[in-house]
């Protein structure tokens, strides 16, 4: 059994789909933070069989919950203080995300217009469908 030490202050992202932790690490720009980050891949899980976990020793406000909600709103966000879980944050699908994914439609104005942010809008919350704000192309793969 591999042991990763407890963190005193920070947050733990639990129930990440197995193999997706590195992608989340990059999307959340955790590489830019000057703090301890532990990535655990393929941990055993009673709910998911296999899961990934990310532990980050920094203020939870540094975390962009919208991006995380967009990537996978079923991830559990545990806020840690004094080595204990003090809050579990609920993630939801953000109504709009900016510059997280790029529109892949070659006919979209985002393919040529300088400085235009890539914005995707939640158009069907039940089916979790996001569409480009400009051309309405469906986002095929969230991550």
């Amino acid at each position: 059994m591999l042991n990763v030490g407890k963190i005193e202050e920070g947050f733990v992202l639990d129930h990440i789909k197995a193999g997706k932790s590195l992608s989340i690490y990059h999307h959340l720009q955790l590489d830019k933070l000057d703090c301890t980050v532990a990535i655990i891949k393929n941990a055993r899980s009673s709910k998911m069989e296999r899961k990934d976990i990310i532990k980050v020793e920094c203020d939870v406000n540094m975390l962009n919950l919208d991006i995380l909600g967009f990537i996978d709103h079923t991830i559990t966000v545990n806020v840690i203080k004094d080595g204990k879980i003090v809050e579990k944050k609920q993630l939801s699908l953000p109504k709009e995300i900016k510059n997280v994914i790029r529109c892949k439609n070659p006919r979209c104005i985002t393919s040529i217009e300088q400085g235009l942010p890539h914005i995707f809008v939640l158009t069907d919350p039940q089916k979790e469908v996001y569409r480009c704000k400009y051309c309405e192309e469906k986002c095929r793969q969230r991550w």
Binding site: C108, I109, K133, Y134, E136
Partner: protein
């Protein structure tokens, strides 16, 4: 300030007002002949579309306004690499309202976000062409007297046909609408459209032969198979003449069925049909001018209602 990006930007109630205004303009043209005096419409057409551009220009001239603009990207600053955002900010200094056609989808929305004047989407790639849809709705409402309780046949290129998708989205807001999708297998209505209809509980059928269903239609909307929507020339050649509406097929239709077409027509409607009173596609082009007149006035806040700005 309002813009027009999609036909769904207006509620059905707002559309009724717009159609009433367009019909009033049709009946009392002289009343509106000077309402836009001193106003300028910029037609920014990054790709050629003679019909839409001239329709917008005719609309503004009918209202006593003036027009300026360009009719393809090579004669505009876009050829020098200027962004849509920059172009519209400059155009906003020259004109009071802008109609924009652009091959890139969403370009008019980018313009609207940066503009200090109303922007009308005059077609953005395969995405939206709202003034065509409003033209179609006005034509149906004016000649049928209603936009509900209709069996509508859509024939031709239903896969790539932007106008038919847009018209369907606009028509599903009215009651008791039934669709018949008439197309070859390769140009069938995309599944996201049929899924949407199923979710809304709207009846539709897919048929291949026009003769099999023409007798049940209140309205037949013909479309052209467009070369520019195909990546493969062979597919285009094979499918372009799949349907031809001629007198023989039309003899099976109801006496009061209307034939609409966004034009230009190529081979899909025989010229022998043109004199049939059911063929209303040239009147549809006329309604296109009236709806653009009504739209320009509405977006400029010059509706001509009592107490309004009409002189």
């Amino acid at each position: 300030m309002r813009h027009l990006m999609s036909p769904l930007d207006f509620t059905t109630r707002e559309l009724e007002q717009l159609f009433d205004l367009a019909n009033d303009m049709e009946q009392h043209r002289e009343r509106y002949a000077h309402i836009c005096e001193g106003k300028k419409l910029a037609t920014c057409f990054y790709e050629p579309s003679t019909r839409t551009r001239l329709s917008f220009e005719a609309a503004m001239l009918n209202l006593g306004g003036q027009v300026l603009g360009f009719s393809d990207a090579s004669s505009s600053s876009a050829a020098k690499g200027e962004s849509v955002s920059d172009t519209i900010r400059v155009i906003s200094c020259y004109a009071d309202i802008c109609a924009m056609r652009h091959p890139k989808e969403g370009a008019p929305m980018v313009a609207a976000g940066r503009s200090s004047i109303p922007v009308i989407n005059a077609g953005d790639g395969g995405h939206q062409h709202p003034t065509q849809t409003l033209t179609d709705l006005l034509t149906i409402r004016s000649l049928k007297g209603r936009l509900s309780d209709l069996t509508i046949g859509l024939c031709g290129d239903l896969k790539f046909g932007r106008t038919v998708h847009s018209l369907i989205h606009a028509l599903v807001r009215y009651e008791n609408i039934r669709f018949l999708f008439i197309s070859p297998e390769e140009l069938r209505m995309p599944s996201y459209m049929t899924e949407m209809l199923r979710e809304k509980g709207i009846a539709y059928e897919e048929v291949i032969r026009l003769e099999d269903c023409i007798d049940s239609l209140d309205l037949l909307y013909m479309t052209r198979v467009q070369r520019e929507r195909f990546f493969n020339e062979e597919d285009y050649v094979r499918l372009k003449d799949f349907y031809l509406l001629d007198k023989e097929k039309l003899s099976l239709a109801k006496d009061d069925m209307l034939i609409l077409h966004p034009l230009p027509r190529v081979n899909e409607i025989s010229v022998e049909v043109d004199d049939d009173p059911r063929a209303v596609y040239f009147r549809q082009a006329q309604y296109g001018v009236y709806i653009r007149m009504a739209l320009i006035c509405t977006l400029l806040g010059l509706t001509g209602e009592e107490g309004g700005n009409i002189c």
